[in-house]
């Protein structure tokens, strides 16, 4: 690429509180339209907001997890604009004094660690939801407004323009999700909009020092679209510059289906939000004692967890990253490790068969039906030579179906591996007798014939023979 791409992300995170930011309405997702509202979150005259303490705690907790400084003196500002999803005519936000500043997140890219700065984190409230009568805003005659989401608490995490590729942006988002999941402040469901991201993207020739003019990409609703949207945008901007044109500062929306960004409106056409301090809310002070108490509630974070897995448990960095990325997976791993000592095998099952099963069923780890202890028990049976790796797949499938313990499945289905030399010798002799040609071929130096014979013994024993022992026995008999 002839240009360097500069990316900064603004991530909106819906907090997992029981109630809304400034009233006691339920903050949970969904519900029949307009059943989670009250005079405050629908902007009725005279209704007054009262700050939810948990929102502040969650914001501080996030700030601490992202290595930020916590602002002691805080207040809220009004961002004024007219839109039907915003019943008050303003959004309560923190423009001037964000609760957290100056943090960072470390990401792994191309095997190296890169530090991405966090400019700020501020608290704000979400808007309601518009349901348009037509296919899009422009061909709708009317819209229906649901205020269930109005005033659900959000934090906005603003990164420094430290990201240099679409892939880095995606890795950063994934890392952010890991951390937010671990600290339990959000359920981070991108499909439900509890994690949303806008990207500021610009490009510049490598010799240029200043940043180019940026566009802001909205509607990046999945990790894939974060990457694809930015990929598209860097190509679009490069084409503009190559043709001798100028990139204009504007907001663009990502069209997932068509794989392009569209211009929404030009930013110069005066967005005058007339921010001012909200007189309905009194300031709040985050005393150091309070912040210290919140710091004590921070759990082991993804980086520390990864270190534990690569260090004491000896996993590769690649496997450890795969295991720790999602909290449910990391917890499943830890649970399994209570019942076996074979970390590598647990990681292999999680990243292999279990992930494949979840993907093909479109499920997440938290939906996985087999108890972690049963996966460990199965691994222990393999390691003890009771179960072959091949037949372990059968046990795995059976556990998914019946939920029974692996030892029980092995017993019921007669899957126990035959490692008895006497019994195997009989089978081996029979196969040699039945396949004289292959036996001769092997003796004549065709190594491939041995594989065929091993396969025949496996077949004879319905897959239960210990493959290493058959190999050994066959070699002995045919030498």
């Amino acid at each position: 690429m002839k240009y360097e791409t500069i990316i900064g992300l603004e991530t909106h995170v819906e907090l997992k509180t029981a109630t809304k930011c400034f009233c006691s309405c339920p903050a949970e997702f969904g519900g029949e339209p307009n059943t989670h509202t009250c005079p405050t979150c629908t902007g009725m005259p005279g209704a007054l907001p009262v700050l939810n303490k948990k929102v502040v705690e969650f914001a501080i907790k996030t700030g601490l997890a992202l290595n930020c400084e916590i602002q002691r003196y805080n207040r809220f500002d009004r961002k004024n604009y007219f839109y039907p999803d915003l019943p008050k005519g303003y959004q309560i936000s923190q423009l001037f004094l964000p609760i957290c500043r100056g943090g960072y997140v470390d990401i792994e890219t191309d095997g190296a660690t890169k530090r991405i700065g966090i400019t700020r984190i501020h608290i704000e409230e979400d808007a309601g939801k518009l349901i348009h009568s037509g296919a899009s805003i422009s061909d709708s005659d009317f819209s229906v407004v649901d205020y269930n989401r109005s005033s659900v608490p959000l934090i906005e995490i603003v990164s420094e323009p430290d990201l240099r590729s679409p892939q880095e942006a995606r890795i950063f988002m994934e890392k952010l999700r890991s951390i937010l999941e671990y600290i339990g402040v959000s359920d981070c469901k991108m499909q439900e909009g509890s994690l949303r991201c806008d990207a500021n993207v610009s490009i510049r020739p490598p010799e240029q020092k200043e940043f180019g003019v940026r566009s802001e990409i909205k509607n990046l609703n999945s990790f894939r679209s974060v990457q694809r949207g930015i990929e598209y945008e860097q190509i679009r901007q490069a084409a503009v510059l190559d043709e001798g044109g100028k990139v204009i500062q504007e907001t663009r929306t990502w069209d997932e289906e068509k794989g392009v960004t569209h211009s929404m409106r030009s930013k110069e056409e005066a967005h005058d939000y007339r921010y001012f301090p909200d007189p309905d809310l009194v300031p709040f002070v985050a005393e150091p004692e309070w912040v210290a108490k919140i710091a004590e509630t921070l759990p082991e974070l993804p980086d520390a967890r990864k270190e534990r897995l690569t260090g004491r448990l000896g996993l590769s960095a690649y496997d450890a990253s795969g295991v720790i990325a999602r909290l449910a997976t990391a917890d499943y791993f830890d649970e399994a490790m209570k019942h076996t000592g074979d970390a590598k095998a647990v990681a292999n099952w999680i990243l292999g068969d279990i992930s494949a099963w979840l993907n093909s069923n479109n499920l997440e780890m938290r939906d996985f039906p087999v108890a972690a202890g049963n996966i460990s028990a199965m691994i222990n049976l393999i390691n003890k030579g009771v179960l072959s790796s091949k037949l372990a797949k059968t046990v795995f499938e059976e556990m998914l179906k019946s939920g029974k313990a692996p030892a029980e499945i092995v017993r019921e289905k007669g899957l126990e591996q035959i490692s008895d030399a006497g019994a195997l010798a009989l089978a081996v002799e029979k196969i040699i007798k039945d396949n004289p040609k292959s036996a001769e071929d092997y003796k004549a130096g065709k190594d491939r014939a041995l594989g065929f014979l091993v396969g025949q013994v496996m077949k004879e024993t319905r897959g239960r023979a210990n493959p290493e022992m058959i190999n050994k026995l066959l070699r002995e008999k045919l030498s």
Binding site: T19, N34, R75, D272
Partner: protein
């Protein structure tokens, strides 16, 4: 501090208000009167006064994260001039108005 007729029109537009041409001079005068009055504060020595955004002697007014009882859908919509499918019905939304 002097507010021009143009600025008054701009502020009116942001507030979605229409000011008839013949009333414009009146609003310009009133804007300037109000700002001039508040501007007197600028003459005070505030060297030793801490900046504030709030005159009430309170801070840290917060509530616990405990759910109350929201309005029913019927109650919520009872003031709505028009409704549909449990929602407030609004006229076509123009692009470019949102966040």
């Amino acid at each position: 501090m002097k507010v021009s007729a143009q600025e008054v029109q701009y502020i009116a537009k942001l507030a979605r208000l229409e000011i008839p041409e013949e009333d414009l001079a009146l609003f310009v005068r009133q804007f300037n009167d109000i700002l001039g009055y508040a501007g007197m504060l600028g003459k005070l020595d505030t060297e030793k006064v801490e900046p504030t955004a709030q005159v009430l002697p309170y801070g840290n007014v917060m509530r616990e994260d405990a759910a109350g009882t929201p309005l029913t859908q019927e109650e919520a919509l009872s003031n709505a001039p028009a409704q549909k499918d449990g929602g407030y019905l609004v006229a076509r939304v123009m692009e470019g108005g949102g966040v």
